[in-house]
């Protein structure tokens, strides 16, 4: 079974290049037989990559340590659950995983469009097979073949990095990869539109759902990654501006810009070159992110892959894509001219454009901070660390502007807004925001950025609530409906917009959570059994933790020491929590497993920072139970996860097929055109 997997990769390689040639040649010459052959090749490559993926998973499940990849990312005692995720645990498997996801999305696209958008499909097939071919070349020729054999069979594997042995780590990479790969579809259609010369908005209309799907997965992938960092890295935070975190944020920033700017092109026929550039940039950044994560080029908490020989191949691929796309854009320049101009600075398109510029500004700042250490090392031989202070200094103000725009944009009408009305519409939300700032000031909060975030968040929430209320009222009046049906129909008529507003609410929650971190409280203390540590929450109450004792145990894959703490809130017992350290025997690595007690407003976060008398502890010596704990109160941190849920709901509303709207527009069009 496993051996067949490698054959599958070798067969897939020529077939993907065959499909690429068939797509381009068939499209150029209008040959239906070649195009059909190209389209079939997509299904074939998907099936072959699926076989290869199953083969790798099978090798993990059956402990086939003769394979280098399995031996390095698994061991006999590893939980089956983590063996199942072995496919994306390391560089080699995750490259296969990337390719199989893309081939899956490509197959869906080919199937969906077997009778539609035919003028695009040959080139779409050509572009996607080109990307798949590239990944197959990397897999088979860049010394990262997941089926490479060691030549002997070790008795046991080296084990999976303990930090990856976490529930969130099993779903964070797949979700992120779904986001990365789904974006290849809009990119392929964009390139197809440049190749076939249909440079109107059709490619955007065809792919906007793919764009949303990609954005949805990217967003959730990033949030899951934050969750993993929060639970597993054990320092109380969730974002460290680590190169790999940045790499996932970069395509998110540009995809968010793209998501907004395509609306301008759809509505106003403007920004065509801009959208082409954004789709290209976002696609390159998804490749860059994959490359950065899986090349070991930049040191980071994630740099679990060490092979740098694929760096050049990746750079060459990105360079060729970039040059080819730019040449195509220049070639089609006449067809990409704007049909309209921005009429007024006070218009929704101007607000979108501004949002785009700010998002790109953030992307460039993050990109620069991420690759600067590399550039600097290349130039001076001296690596320079660019840490969180740089990123925070640059990105917090940018984030605040973006946050404000999520409230300002919706209120400004397309084309031109009426100044007087704007003032009226903004008055109450602005006042509400200022009131909230005043309340927090009065309560003693002094962090300027946090205050600004709370104020702007209130402003945005007020705007969104007013939008929903006014929209429903207008709909009820115009269509003569009750408020309930009016609200449902209002959302149904323009799912993208109202779903988008709900997404904005989720974004507000997440930003508020970020601001909450300004009020984190941290206490570090040495404890003997029976001793207590007290920490004051910024919300006014006090937690007292009593250290009850520690127990050690030998688990299947690790030894662990679990400290038990009973928790009192203002002297009232509210429960118990544990915090532990684990020693993974195979990896010979110690990790902390934090204890988290979540409420709606804050998390109590306990880290077992040190066990002083290790040997005594192993022997369960009653006099050797002294520990060092770090206790944190992280206000509002849970709002990130709640915000993620709200974003998911909003995105699903935006993605839901608008059957009703389609029926109605179909009925509308003949009525107008035929003049019944």
């Amino acid at each position: 079974m496993t051996a067949l997997g490698e054959f599958a990769l070798w067969i897939a390689l020529p077939i993907s290049f065959w499909g690429m040639a068939m797509g381009f040649v068939g499209g150029r010459q209008g040959r239906g037989d070649l195009i059909l052959s190209g389209e079939r090749s997509v299904y074939v490559v998907f099936a072959l990559l699926a076989i290869a993926s199953l083969a790798i998973t099978n090798a993990f499940l059956t402990d086939q340590f003769q394979y280098y990849y399995v031996a390095n990312y698994s061991n006999r005692d590893l939980d089956t659950y983590f063996k199942l995720s072995g496919l994306w645990a390391g560089q080699r498997g995750s490259l296969v995983f990337w390719a199989v996801l893309l081939a899956f999305f490509a197959s869906v696209t080919v199937f969906q469009n077997r009778n539609k958008n035919r003028e695009f499909m040959p080139y779409v097939v050509g572009v996607i097979q080109g990307i798949l071919g590239f990944f197959l070349v990397v897999l088979l020729f860049a010394k990262v073949n997941p089926f490479q054999q060691l030549g002997f069979v070790p008795p046991d594997g080296a084990g999976l990095n303990p930090q990856l042995q976490n529930y969130w780590m099993t779903i964070h990479p797949p979700v992120l990869y779904l986001g990365f790969t789904a974006f290849a579809i809009p990119f392929a259609f964009a390139m197809a539109s440049l190749l076939n010369g249909r440079t109107d908005s059709r490619w955007i209309v065809v792919t906007r759902r793919w764009t949303l799907v990609s954005w949805f997965f990217l967003t959730n992938g990033i949030i899951f990654g934050m969750r993993w960092a929060y639970e597993e890295l054990g320092w109380g935070g969730y974002w460290f501006w680590d190169p790999v975190e940045n790499a996932s944020l970069l395509p998110w920033l540009t995809a968010t810009a793209f998501l907004h700017s395509i609306m301008i092109q759809e509505n106003r026929g403007m920004l065509k070159i801009w959208n082409m550039s954004l789709v290209l940039l976002t696609f390159l950044l998804t490749i860059f992110a994959t490359f950065l994560t899986r090349s070991g080029l930049i040191e980071s908490v994630h740099s679990f892959a060490q092979n740098t020989s694929i760096a050049l191949i990746f750079l060459a691929f990105m360079g060729s894509i970039f040059i080819a796309s730019v040449v195509l854009i220049i070639y089609r320049l006449p067809g990409l001219r704007a049909e309209n101009q921005i009429e007024s600075f006070l218009s929704r398109e101007a607000a979108f454009l501004f949002n785009n510029l700010v998002l790109l500004g953030a992307a460039f700042a993050v990109l620069w901070g991420t690759i600067f250490p590399l550039v600097s090392e290349a130039a001076t031989g001296q690596p320079v660390a660019v840490g969180p202070p740089f990123f925070n200094r640059v990105n917090i103000p940018i984030g605040l502007i973006l946050l404000a725009l999520t409230g300002i944009g919706p209120v400004i009408a397309w084309r031109r807004a009426t100044r007087r009305n704007l003032k009226r519409n903004f008055a109450i939300p602005v006042i509400l925001g200022l009131v909230v700032v005043a309340v927090f000031l009065a309560m003693g909060a002094r962090n300027g950025y946090a205050l600004a975030t709370f104020g702007i968040s209130t402003f945005v929430l007020a705007i969104v609530a007013t939008e929903f209320w006014k929209g429903t009222r207008a709909r009820a009046r115009i269509e003569g409906e009750g408020f309930g049906p009016a609200l449902i129909h209002l959302i149904g008529r323009n799912r993208r917009r109202w779903g988008g507003y709900i997404v904005h609410v989720g974004v507000v929650l997440i930003f508020t959570a970020f601001a909450g971190s300004a009020f984190d409280v941290e206490v570090r203390k040495v404890l003997n059994p029976g001793e207590t540590v007290t920490v004051a929450s910024p919300f006014g109450h006090t937690y007292t933790l009593v250290y009850e004792g520690i127990s050690s145990s030998v688990e299947e894959n690790f030894d662990q020491w679990v400290a038990l703490m009973s928790v009192q809130r203002n002297g009232e017992p509210v429960g118990a929590m544990t915090t532990s350290r684990r020693f993974y025997r195979v990896n010979r690595q110690m990790v902390t497993e934090v204890g988290i007690r979540s409420t709606a407003l804050e998390d109590l976060y306990v880290i077992l920072a040190d066990v002083e008398d290790f040997e005594g502890m192993v022997g369960n010596d009653p006099n050797a139970q002294r520990i060092v704990v770090q206790v944190m109160v992280n206000p509002l941190v849970g709002w990130i996860w709640y915000g993620g849920v709200i974003i998911t709901i909003g995105a699903l509303i935006a993605l839901w097929p608008a059957a009703e709207a389609r029926r109605r527009s179909a009925a509308l069009e003949p009525a107008i055109a035929g003049g019944s």
Partner: protein
């Protein structure tokens, strides 16, 4: 066993991709008619924008003057798209349908009024918005077909 499997994979793969060329099976080169043309797309967008503008006016984002102006522009755009669409459909040139434009403008207005639950004057045929009691053109009292939810009629 593995060799057999691999050969099978090669065989199936090669068959699937070569069969269209050898047997002359073709993928359709053109879509089967259901997707909108550029003109139809622009028409749809302008009509949706007209609706949006109406909502934005109703929601207090647009002043009356701006709204009127916007509505005129959008109607003109919708009209241009409709003309183009008709030309596409009937293969006429732009000069041929220029004179028909007045009718089309009227038609857009009528369809939109009807969608809104408005009514047409029995005397002069002028379309009036929902809730109107008298014709805006000639002043004739209007028979309102059914009362609207707001009870203004």
């Amino acid at each position: 066993m593995v060799i057999l499997g691999a050969l099978l994979l090669v065989g199936i793969s090669v068959f699937l991709i070569l069969q269209p060329i050898v047997a002359g099976r073709e993928a359709p080169l053109w879509s089967s008619g259901e997707e909108p043309t550029e003109a139809q797309f622009r028409k749809r967008v302008s009509l949706l924008q007209l609706r949006d503008a109406e909502y934005e006016f109703a929601m207090g984002k647009l002043g009356k003057t701006d709204y009127e102006m916007l509505r005129r522009e959008l109607s003109a755009e919708a009209l241009a798209a409709i003309r183009e669409e008709e030309a596409e459909a009937e293969g006429r040139t732009s000069a041929d349908y220029a004179e028909a434009s007045a009718d089309i403008e009227e038609e857009i207005a009528q369809v939109r009024i009807r969608l809104r639950g408005g009514s047409f004057c029995s005397e002069c045929g002028h379309p009036n918005p929902g809730g109107s009691r008298f014709c805006a053109e000639c002043g004739t009292p209007l028979r309102v077909p059914e009362p609207s939810g707001q009870g203004q009629a």
